[in-house]
């Protein structure tokens, strides 16, 4: 018996250390999130106590002010319209292209691929300036359509990439059997392959939505008022000496919550998407 206990003891202390380490990692990851949410529930007076208060009476006042008085509701709706439209457009253009890439061979396939990868790497500032100058000339500044289109530069590659991968995984026998039944390539795509590729298409849609919803630089330089998105609006609160902490954090919480929900849903595919498939 004594032998048994002495061999268990170092093991349990090791497990305790592991538990503590894992808990520390969790706290480190979610503490800023926790602080954001609690600050959003404080009044301006409570937010500006020094040192900051950990226990207080929570209030939703910041949310009502931000949503109804500061037109944050409008910019959230703008963000939603833009993110959904650009995602839809990326899917409409991207899924057929992905199918084509998985099924046909052609000369500039490699160049196309290179262009997608470059899009993953290039700083938005490179495109933002020429885009701004062109859009300004066309009198399209501060419209939804401009952001919907420019977001395609990063959405379309990610949708095409994830969906190509998905279509490749579908057996070609399916297509061939359908051809024997007299189905044309479009029918095969819509009726057979699209439904089977639904999981991949969903993941790519989640990615496109998150990237568009989070985007700041294009929104900052291409919108003013009418089409202003939520992140651009939140930046606008950072003026003046006494910053409205509660309001800023309420806005931030409203922006971040949907992203975190989507990211958790797609968490299994997160790394694959962020590395364009280099790491599975």
């Amino acid at each position: 018996m004594a032998f048994g206990i002495s061999s268990i003891k170092p093991k349990t202390s090791r497990t305790t250390a592991e538990v503590i380490l894992l808990l520390l990692i969790i706290i480190f990851c979610i503490f800023p999130f926790y602080w954001m949410v609690t600050t959003s529930l404080k009044t301006q007076l409570e937010a500006l106590t020094s040192p900051p208060a950990w226990i207080f009476e929570p209030t939703l006042a910041n949310y009502t002010t931000v949503l109804f008085k500061d037109k944050m509701g409008l910019s959230l709706i703008n963000s939603l319209i833009i993110a959904i439209s650009t995602t839809a457009l990326a899917l409409i253009l991207g899924t057929p292209a992905a199918y084509g890439l998985s099924r046909f061979e052609f000369r500039w396939k490699k160049d196309l691929w290179f262009w997608f990868i470059t899009n993953r790497m290039v700083s938005p500032v490179v495109l933002a300036l020429p885009f701004f100058l062109i859009v300004r000339k066309l009198h399209l500044l501060d419209t939804h359509i401009v952001l919907i289109l420019i977001y395609l530069t990063f959405n379309l590659p990610i949708v095409i990439w994830i969906c190509t991968d998905q279509f490749r995984s579908l057996p070609r026998d399916l297509d061939e059997a359908a051809v024997l039944d007299g189905a044309g390539p479009f029918k095969i795509f819509f009726k057979i392959c699209m439904p089977l590729a639904a999981p991949g298409i969903t993941v790519s849609a989640i990615f496109a939505f998150i990237f568009s919803w989070n985007e700041l630089m294009y929104a900052l330089v291409l919108t003013r008022k009418v089409a202003k998105t939520a992140p651009a609006m939140a930046v606008g609160f950072m003026e003046g000496y006494h910053l409205p902490y509660g309001k800023i954090m309420a806005t931030s919480t409203l922006i971040v919550i949907p992203v975190i929900i989507f990211a958790l849903i797609a968490s299994k595919h997160l790394i694959r998407g962020l590395t364009m498939g280099a790491v599975k």
């Binding site: 990692i25 938005p124 950072m238 958790l264 498939g277």
Partner: protein, 292 residues
């Protein structure tokens, strides 16, 4: 193989729309950027637009502040990347161990939160938490007897804060990439190695490390590209200040282009940045898509 009557036409019907729209939206503006970069082009004085040749590029390449911004960007990468990889590897090894599966799953899920947090919000949160008077960070270090620090107002400290948030946000990325690498080690190989030696470092160095190389390469290239891209978080946190202490390359180009109003010069800077990015993409393609 599929038998299609007009194979080329069919392929074009599928792929054409996407390629054409990407071309118009992506390449069109780039061509315009090349045009402006070779001209004197100022929005405040468009009548004075005239051809300059490579003059703007010469100005940028000999401009000390451009190289300083580039240097700051590389300094940030040089500081955060080793920390992210070291912590990332440590946490990945911890998560790879068997047992405590519920707690490990919870940890893995909470790693998603920093990565998913909107970059702009990270900056705003940074302002709130690192405020000298009302910030929770000064309160927390106060418990250890450290006097309040002026985080955002001081050039060196502001840079430290940027490093902190980048580490917070992207260590989980390194963790998950390396964890994915660890799971590719065949179980029987790893177990055999553990029977041979009790030293975890020997197992890591000789058994697991070879499987981590693709992930490490991906991290190296992508983190470099992402640091060259980094804008939102720094902009909302410090706007590049105080002075130019945190003005990374993307912030500098944005300032010259949109606040300094020399669009020709900013375009030249942007194209130099693009050239760097293209090199990185080439590397990435060489390493990971050799079969395409």
């Amino acid at each position: 193989m599929l038998k299609i009557r007009h194979p080329k036409l069919t392929a074009f019907a599928f792929i054409g729309p996407a390629v054409i729209s990407l071309f118009i939206i992506g390449i069109g503006p780039l061509a315009f950027a090349v045009y402006t970069s070779m001209h004197k082009y100022r929005l405040t004085n468009l009548r004075d637009t005239h051809f300059l040749g490579l003059e703007n590029f010469k100005t940028v390449l000999t401009d000390q502040s451009f190289w300083e911004a580039m240097g700051r960007t590389m300094k940030l990468l040089g500081i955060v990347l080793p920390i992210q990889i070291a912590f990332g590897l440590g946490i990945a090894l911890l998560l790879h161990k068997p047992g405590l599966s519920l707690l490990r799953t919870l940890t893995r899920l909470s790693l998603v939160i920093p990565m998913a947090t909107t970059y702009a919000v990270v900056g705003l949160l940074g302002q709130v938490m690192f405020n000298m008077k009302y910030g929770v960070v000064n309160q927390l270090i106060g418990f250890f007897g450290v006097a309040p620090v002026n985080w955002i107002g001081d050039p060196n400290n502001a840079f430290t804060v940027i490093c902190f948030w980048d580490i917070w946000q992207w260590t989980p990325f390194c963790t998950l990439v390396l964890l994915a690498g660890l799971t590719t080690v065949p179980e029987e190989v790893e177990e055999a190695a553990r029977l041979e030696t009790a030293k975890w470092f020997t197992v890591l160095r000789y058994v697991q490390f070879p499987f981590l190389i693709p992930g490490l390469t991906a991290i190296l290239i992508l983190r470099t590209a992402d640091t060259l891209k980094l804008f939102d978080m720094v902009f909302t946190l410090t706007r590049g200040g105080p002075g130019s202490a945190t003005e990374l390359i993307s912030l500098m180009i944005q300032r010259v282009g949109f606040r300094g109003f020399d669009q020709g010069l900013a375009s030249a800077q942007a194209i130099i940045l693009l050239a760097l990015t293209v090199i990185l993409s080439q590397l990435y393609i060489r390493f990971f898509y050799s079969e395409v």
